[in-house]
């Protein structure tokens, strides 16, 4: 699923190849693909549209360094903006109050009860809180039993009022119990409800008003589609929650709901659920989420590394050499070394969209360049500067010196000549040509 998307983005990149700057024209196709990618990742249609428009404003006119394509740079801008949007505020829980009250609300089946159990365990272990859980889901059969079992598993007391059908009553009793017994935090688990269910929404509003929680959390399934904006907004209108919990992220959903929700209510995602075990609770990483929504593998890391490693001065010298036909094996070697600086071949290949999964289980040796380096090292300085010198007997010597065969030397020289020609045509796409040449070997 991810691969298909990345391939399309690559397709869009092709249109931008060889352009030095992000302009209105070369960016349009990429942005269209980004928008489609976002929508397919379940980002709300409107949110995706607004988001892409905003990013476009930022991107126009940005200079593109030569080893990158504008499309790739574009993706990085998109991703960074997305991470910025979803991140920002500190995500710590507000545990003021005696006891601090955490109210947990959301749709049916979003994972409130499981999350409540996990949060109790987290606060007990990591924040040294004395935690009490209150079971206020009086509707779903056995919901209270479920919380009791979870409480038992993590060693946290669960408060319930057998026979009571009034969640507000149970919750206020729980507060009294927590005060009397010196609990520092009370987590109130509630029944799932649809935002259009007026009666049930009224109930959660009353609970919220009565409890005055220091922290109200909205729990939402990360697989939620276009409806996420409606639900998130309706709950926010009702109880103005302080943070969002994104559950079931251990699935393979792209999780566009995270972006949708963040753009309709300005509240941070404080936790993510990553499994069924009681400790499968994680803090939220905006960067990772952005990558996931884009389904980009790690193209962004690749871009960043290229940016880090790229020496603008060297690049200028190189392109001058290409232009004047002075590109030699020394420069070729320098390029190889530059690529090698960026990381292992497998890592690099894995970061290229569309290649990612294919190489995951493949054994790619970092020695791919070794023979080439050895052959170049076996050349004299004159030969490196002027490859046309290399005749038959020189080739024999180079093969012997590098421990390779004459065939390999022939192949290298042939490929080098092809590449020089191509580079002269393309001016600047050197690293990429080199990479594709390596791929063919």
């Amino acid at each position: 699923m991810f691969e298909k998307l990345s391939e399309r983005l690559e397709g869009a990149f092709h249109l931008l190849k060889g352009r030095g700057q992000i302009t209105e024209i070369n960016v349009a196709e990429t942005l269209k693909e980004v928008r489609r990618a976002l929508v397919e990742a379940d980002v709300s249609y409107k949110v995706a549209k607004d988001f892409v428009d905003r990013v476009k404003e930022q991107a126009l006119g940005q200079k593109v360094i030569t080893s990158l394509q504008p499309g790739q740079l574009m993706i990085k801008i998109v991703r960074d903006e997305m991470a910025r949007m979803m991140g920002g505020q500190a995500a710590e829980l507000n545990l003021k109050g005696q006891p601090a009250i955490v109210l947990v609300a959301g749709l049916q089946g979003s994972g409130k009860t499981t999350f409540s159990g996990k949060l109790a365990s987290f606060l007990k272990r990591k924040r040294s809180q004395k935690v009490l859980l209150a079971a206020c889901d009086v509707y779903r059969p056995a919901a209270i039993d479920q919380l009791k079992i979870l409480g038992e598993q993590v060693g946290v007391e669960v408060f319930s009022v057998p026979g009571s059908t009034d969640p507000v009553h149970i919750a206020t009793q729980a507060v009294a119990h927590a005060k009397a017994k010196g609990f520092s935090t009370l987590i109130v688990d509630t029944a799932g409800r649809l935002a259009v269910d007026a009666e049930m929404m009224d109930e959660i509003v009353r609970l919220h008003r009565e409890l005055k929680p220091s922290e109200t959390l909205f729990v939402v399934d990360s697989m939620t589609g276009q409806d996420a904006v409606n639900t998130a907004k309706a709950f926010h209108d009702a109880i103005a929650y302080d943070g969002v919990v994104l559950t079931k992220l251990d699935g393979d959903t792209r999780g566009g709901a995270a972006l949708s929700i963040r753009s309709v209510v300005d509240k941070p995602i404080k936790f993510v659920g990553t499994g069924e075990k009681s400790d499968a609770l994680d803090v939220f990483y905006p960067d990772r989420m952005a990558d996931r929504i884009l389904g980009m593998g790690d193209v962004v890391s690749l871009v960043e590394r290229a940016q880090e490693q790229f020496d603008a001065e060297q690049a200028r010298a190189l392109s001058k050499k290409i232009a004047t036909n002075k590109f030699g094996f020394d420069d070729f070697l320098a390029q190889i070394q530059q690529i090698k600086k960026m990381g292992s071949m497998k890592d690099l290949m894995g970061m290229i969209p569309g290649v990612g999964k294919a190489v995951k289980d493949l054994d790619i040796s970092d020695d791919a360049f070794k023979h080439i380096e050895a052959m170049i090292h076996s050349m004299t300085p004159q030969e490196r500067q002027n490859p046309s010198l290399i005749n038959g007997s020189r080739r024999k010597r180079i093969a012997a010196g590098s421990g390779t065969g004459i065939n390999e030397v022939n192949k290298l020289i042939k490929q080098f000549e092809d590449m020089s020609k191509m580079m002269k045509k393309m001016q600047g796409g050197g690293a990429k040509q080199l990479a594709s040449m390596m791929g063919r070997r």
């Binding site: 397919e40 409107k46 039993d145 649809l194 276009q226 069924e276």
Partner: protein, 321 residues
């Protein structure tokens, strides 16, 4: 007709009633769609690119997904090209038709179900979609139809899942089979099937633990349940229902793909359609995997679990007020 004679379509009068109930559930959806369609069509005598663009956004916001939306729009465009004087008011009918066509099964479903004897229904899905609730409601429904029903609690993982199903079994007064929490779900299924056979039950409904479809081990566990049933009673399970939450987005496609691979899903149940979620992803699933939607959940009440009717579903989506 196969097994779902059990759930056979009602008389016309009841059907109208169903339609009304569906309408209520889908009210939010329809207002939204119609409001937007009306707005975009105001003052236009011809369907132009703008209108098609706008339709596209309407479909995508109903969770149909990009690919399915493009297919619907393409069908529309063909019609528009054929008839340049197509009025916007006629568009709705075309749109309804396009969606319906996508949802129609391409071939008749094979009738492998014995005319008499025990029918085994295995219910699967990711966490929190409403499997247990669906089974509870189905059990009562069958019981009310005069069938001898047994529920089996093969969700031995989630805390209190067994208790939850037991409450439903007690409510409707049907037979109930469970082992202790943490026991092998395939063993529960096996025991349940044996007991259902010896007690000459008509329907056995098997609940399973929610699992994310990318968890290989858990999916293999489901395959095992299926194999165990098949071995004991050739032809079982007669129906494998995948339960989907209407608010789920495009990931539902992947769910359908993986659950079908593991258990040969034969039909869908779409739950929680009474909220603002539109459940449009089932259009994509129905067309891509040829999986019919069997039931929709339109509320918390027992009567709110409805036999799915594509005509009603689509009509309801595009009906003018």
């Amino acid at each position: 007709m196969g097994l779902f004679d059990l759930f056979k379509k009602k008389k016309e009068s009841e059907r109208a009633e169903d339609e009304q109930r569906m309408d209520r559930g889908l009210d939010k959806t329809r207002e939204n769609l119609l409001g937007r369609m009306a707005r975009m069509l105001v003052g236009k005598s011809k369907v132009d690119a703008d209108v098609l663009d706008e339709l596209e956004s309407v479909l995508i916001e109903a969770d149909l997904g990009v690919e399915t939306t493009v297919r619907v729009i393409r069908k529309l465009e063909e019609n528009v090209a054929r008839d340049p004087y197509l009025k916007p008011s006629e568009l709705e009918g075309h749109m309804r038709k396009a969606v319906l066509e996508l949802m129609e099964p391409k071939s008749e479903e094979p009738n492998t179900v014995p005319p008499t004897g025990l029918k085994v229904i295995l219910v699967v899905g990711v966490n929190g979609v409403g499997k247990t609730t669906t089974i509870g409601k189905l059990g009562l429904r069958f019981q009310q139809q005069g069938l001898k029903v047994m529920l089996a609690a093969a969700d031995t993982f989630r805390a209190a899942a067994i208790d939850q199903l037991k409450v439903w079994a007690d409510r409707s007064g049907v037979d109930f089979v469970a082992q202790s929490m943490g026991s092998d779900p395939a063993a529960v299924a096996h025991e349940a099937l044996q007991r259902a056979l010896s007690s000459e039950s008509d329907v056995l409904l098997i609940d399973t633990a929610g699992r994310l479809h990318n968890k290989v081990n858990l999916m293999q566990e489901l395959s095992k349940i299926r194999r165990v049933l098949e071995k004991l009673l050739p032809g079982a399970p007669h129906e494998v229902l995948l339960v989907l939450d209407a608010s789920t987005g495009q990931n539902a496609l992947e769910q359908a793909r993986q659950f079908t691979a593991a258990t040969q899903v034969t039909g869908l149940v779409l739950t929680k359609l009474d909220g603002t979620a539109k459940g449009g992803v089932v259009v994509a699933i129905a067309s891509e995997f040829q999986l019919p939607v069997r039931f929709v959940g339109l509320g918390e009440g027992i009567e709110d679990l409805q036999v799915f009717d594509a005509q009603i579903f689509v009509n309801s989506l595009f009906k003018t007020v």
